[in-house]
């Protein structure tokens, strides 16, 4: 440990730390653009300058904190007159050629440059010369648009592709004030499954999501903690949706209750500060057309009627089997097990297979099993073998199918089928009883990831009125059927 002083506070810093790291660890704020805790230190923005106080022999000096090693007894000032003057100068230069088109920039409201301008500068430009022009709407990839005028060349995006995703998909062309961030010409950035992290990394509105472009102002949205179901890593994410106070009656109700965007939620135990692009596209998963009507024999009925019919089937079955969802939450699995675990021959199925061309696995985040909770399910039951017929007991007469991904043709012919699922597809009509259930974003719960880490997701939206939570349904289904006159 090394004793240093920051703004008059005594700080115990660790050997090998930079002043930036020691300051942040001890709650002292130093502004920065190019620095990032997970990336290398380029020291190019020059906004993190601090003052090292001199002694009687020499005057103090200013230098960047991100590359300054701590030294025993050093006295650092992060907010002296000299630091403030220098910082203001540097900000003036950062914004010299910045278009300041916040009015049409998606980053407004969460922009580091905006925040620092108001906090540390607050004055208009002193230049009377025209700003340097550059490309304003460059398709960096299908998913990301780049505005080179807003870019402050901090190089975070380039370093991310070099050091984290290792796609080497981005670089900086040319030099001086005509430097331009560009994607490599062979499409490697387009194919980088982590590309969208550069959108979060960008401290200004230079790198923006094309799907999200001009869709919503961020101050109308709020994030809800959730978990990406795209694979068994279960990255922590924030699902952004309209704040309740900002719902608009004039808007299509769907717009008030939709996933506007998904961003990483920092979780050192699971995903650090990153997610892959699949997690960004959760709207494509959760906003598929929903099954909202219970069905008996392919005809829509009231939910209670379908539940009662299901109870009859369950009571009558001699050799029931179940295909358990690998997307079920820990709570849903517990309820299922309490209801059917001993009586049914249960196997865990693969709700989602990898898409053609989807990366199977890598050293960063992506895992091969594209389902969020197989680990918790297989703690209870075995996985469905490759030859599924072998999994069903002899004389199987009822199969409870929970979730997606079931090959209905592989079920024992003659067995009744009770199907619980959230999304519309033709299988609704094949089941003897179909019960629509809620999705992850409509309830709270927990998943257990591949490494055994248990994480919680929160509800973002209300579930549709005609749809039930699977957890409650299992308990209901386990109750005996009413004896009824046919």
């Amino acid at each position: 440990m090394v004793e240093i002083w920051i703004d008059g506070d005594r700080v115990e810093a660790e050997d090998g730390q930079s002043v930036m790291q020691a300051a942040r660890a001890s709650g002292h704020e130093i502004p920065y653009f190019c620095w990032h805790p997970a990336l290398s230190v380029p020291g190019n923005c020059r906004i993190c300058m601090v003052e090292v106080e001199g002694d009687d022999a020499s005057a103090g000096w200013l230098d960047i904190a991100c590359n300054m090693p701590i030294a025993k007894g050093m006295h650092i000032r992060t907010d002296s007159e000299r630091v403030r003057a220098r910082r203001k100068e540097m900000l003036q230069l950062v914004t010299l050629n910045h278009p300041v088109d916040c009015g049409i920039c998606d980053k407004a409201g969460e922009c580091t440059l905006q925040d620092y301008h108001y906090r540390y500068n607050g004055e208009p430009s002193v230049s009377r010369d025209a700003k340097v022009r550059a490309t304003k709407h460059h398709a960096l990839s299908e998913r990301i648009v780049l505005d080179n005028e807003r870019c402050i060349l901090c190089s975070r995006c380039v370093r991310f592709t070099r050091e984290i995703s290792k796609s080497h998909g981005l670089g900086i062309q040319h030099r001086g004030d005509h430097s331009l961030v560009r994607a490599v010409e062979n499409g490697a950035f387009e194919r980088d499954p982590y590309s969208d992290n550069v959108i979060d990394l960008c401290p200004v509105g230079a790198l923006l999501s094309r799907p999200f472009l001009h869709k919503a102002r961020v101050w109308y949205l709020e994030p809800t903690a959730s978990i990406c179901p795209g694979c068994e890593r279960g990255c922590s994410v924030d699902i952004w949706h309209r704040k309740k106070a900002w719902t608009l009656k004039r808007l299509d109700p769907a717009a008030n209750a939709r996933i506007d965007r998904v961003t990483p939620r920092e979780n050192p135990a699971v995903n650090g500060p990153w997610i892959c692009n699949k997690g960004r596209d959760l709207a494509l998963v959760f906003e598929r057309p929903r099954a909202t009507a219970a069905m008996v024999g392919g005809e829509a009925v009231e939910l209670e009627a379908a539940v009662e019919r299901a109870r009859e089937l369950i009571a009558a079955a001699r050799h029931p089997a179940a295909l358990v969802s690998s997307w079920g939450s820990n709570e849903e699995l517990a309820a299922f097990h309490a209801a059917f675990g001993t009586r049914f021959a249960c196997h865990v199925k693969t709700d989602h297979l990898p898409e053609p061309g989807e990366r199977l696995e890598d050293e960063l985040l992506i895992k091969p099993d594209k389902n969020p909770n197989r680990r918790a399910a297989t703690a209870l039951y075995p996985s469905l073998p490759d030859a599924p017929r072998a999994a069903f007991p002899a004389g199987c007469d009822l199969v409870l199918v929970w979730g997606e991904g079931c090959d209905f043709d592989a079920l024992p012919p003659g067995a009744k089928v009770l199907h619980l699922d959230a999304w519309r597809h033709p299988a609704e009509f094949r089941a003897d009883v179909f019960l629509p259930i809620s999705v992850q974003t409509e309830r709270s719960g927990h998943y257990t990831n591949f490494a055994g880490v248990v994480s919680r997701f929160e509800a973002c939206f209300e579930k549709p009125a005609t749809v039930a939570d699977a957890e409650a349904l299992f308990a209901a289904l386990a109750m005996p059927a009413r004896v009824e006159a046919p």
Binding site: A130, L153, I172, G176, D177
Partner: protein, 441 residues
């Protein structure tokens, strides 16, 4: 006669750069002696005692730089000769490469021995023509004669020298930019710490010395530090190669003993100012040094202390002579256009600042300058002083601040009147190039 000659002490002939001629002058005998009789640390001690200062512009004591290298630390060490020579006004390393390439090679071998270097590099700017051919030939000749490669002069010492060509970038003359370029990338300078002598080429301890600095090593080791210190002044021992150009009768490369009178050098040894109007000012050591007026150079001698006390620097030895009647606004315009073109673009103050300086001076020249533009130029320069990754930002600042400090009236004149006080002239009156521009025919 500009004092004792340590480097330009032989007659330049069509073959004087060749190995045979060099051997006849005693070439490679010192390397031989070093390998037989001296330990590496003894060589470094001699260089440190000699007190030779770097000739690339920063005037850092070479022996002190060498002393940071830890012998027997089980890491590879690298040596680079900085032959990028991009500072406008400077062309003296070129003289060495063209006329004394073997002296550089022998000196590098001695330095490599002292620093336990197995691989050394000569980073030469990509544009150099004859200079590159001569040094490349000399390196091959040295290999063929056994002065490079394995088992040099029958000793256990081995050295490879690679001549590495740049491709057009001023910042590759900055030591850390040079290394980044040598690693096969854009020549982006690096922040310090770490020092390059700790983590340099591919993160290994590296010494980078200017070509002229290195070329002196053979003489220092051959004749001893004491003999070297007999030449020059106490704080600036030895000599400096000065490349002089601009409005001067006899431009070229001259070896000057430190302490030689400044004005006498220009007036007598270089034939004096071109044209009849007399001397206006001088850039003593390249465009990145503060301009000195004719009056200011009168009492000075050519050494670091004297020029330093006058508020300027000998820099890279690229002296530019300016005659009266030259427009200093257009003069600055050429400089800021250059800095803008060469900024690597990494750090905020230089990337934005160089373009800003250039645009303001361009606007003054087109007649749209405003009075507060002058203070703005100074403010931008100050914002680049001590805030940048490398010295280029600072250099542009010194150049700008110096010219404005001493010739503010010309800027004010142009802003007030919409034209130059001196007709926008950059050439010496009576020595214009002319042809097409004036004739329109």
């Amino acid at each position: 006669m500009t004092g004792t000659k340590l480097l330009m002490n032989f007659e330049v002939t069509p073959t004087s750069h060749c190995l045979a001629d060099y051997r006849a002058r005693g070439g490679y005998a010192t390397l031989d002696k070093v390998l037989r009789e001296m330990r590496p640390e003894e060589v470094t001690k001699e260089v440190a005692t000699a007190g030779i200062l770097g000739h690339g512009g920063a005037a850092f004591p070479a022996g002190r730089k060498w002393g940071v290298i830890r012998l027997n630390d089980e890491q590879p060490h690298y040596l680079c000769a900085n032959a990028d020579e991009g500072e406008p006004g400077t062309f003296k390393d070129r003289w060495i490469l063209e006329h004394a390439p073997h002296l550089l090679i022998e000196s590098m071998a001695i330095a490599a021995y002292a620093l336990q270097v197995r691989h050394a590099f000569i980073y030469i700017r990509g544009e150099f023509d004859l200079a590159w051919r001569r040094i490349a030939e000399a390196v091959e000749g040295a290999y063929a004669a056994g002065w490079l490669g394995e088992g040099i002069a029958g000793s256990a010492f081995a050295l490879d020298i690679v001549v590495y060509r740049g491709a057009g970038s001023y910042v590759c003359g900055e030591a850390s930019g040079l290394l980044t370029s040598l690693e096969g990338r854009k020549g982006y300078p690096r922040n310090r710490p770490p020092r390059l002598t700790v983590r340099g080429l591919y993160q290994m301890p590296t010494v980078i010395n200017n070509v002229e600095t290195l070329t002196n090593i053979t003489g220092i080791v051959r004749d001893g530090a004491a003999a070297f210190r007999q030449v020059g002044t106490a704080k600036s021992p030895g000599t400096q190669l000065i490349s002089i150009s601009g409005h001067v009768q006899r431009p070229g490369v001259y070896e000057v003993e430190y302490g030689y009178p400044f004005a006498k050098f220009i007036r007598e040894d270089c034939g004096g100012v071109l044209g009849s109007l007399g001397l206006k000012c001088v850039l003593p050591g390249g465009i990145s040094t503060t301009v000195l007026t004719a009056a200011e150079i009168e009492p000075l001698v050519l050494d670091h202390a004297s020029v330093g006390a006058a508020g300027s620097s000998l820099g890279s030895g690229g002296m530019v002579v300016v005659a009266e009647g030259t427009c200093m606004v257009r003069f600055l315009q050429v400089l800021v256009r250059f800095y803008h073109h060469e900024s690597c673009g990494q750090c905020t103050p230089c990337r934005e600042g160089m373009g800003w300086l250039h645009r303001i001076v361009d606007r003054i020249v087109t007649g749209d300058g405003q009075p507060d533009d002058i203070d703005r130029l100074v403010a931008i320069s100050k914002a680049n002083d001590g805030t940048t990754i490398c010295g280029m930002g600072d250099a542009a600042g010194y150049a700008t601040v110096g010219i404005i400090a001493k010739y503010r009236d010309e800027f004010e004149y142009w802003i007030r009147n919409g034209r130059s006080k001196y007709g926008g002239r950059l050439e010496a009156l009576g020595h214009e190039w002319v042809r097409e521009a004036a004739l329109h025919g």
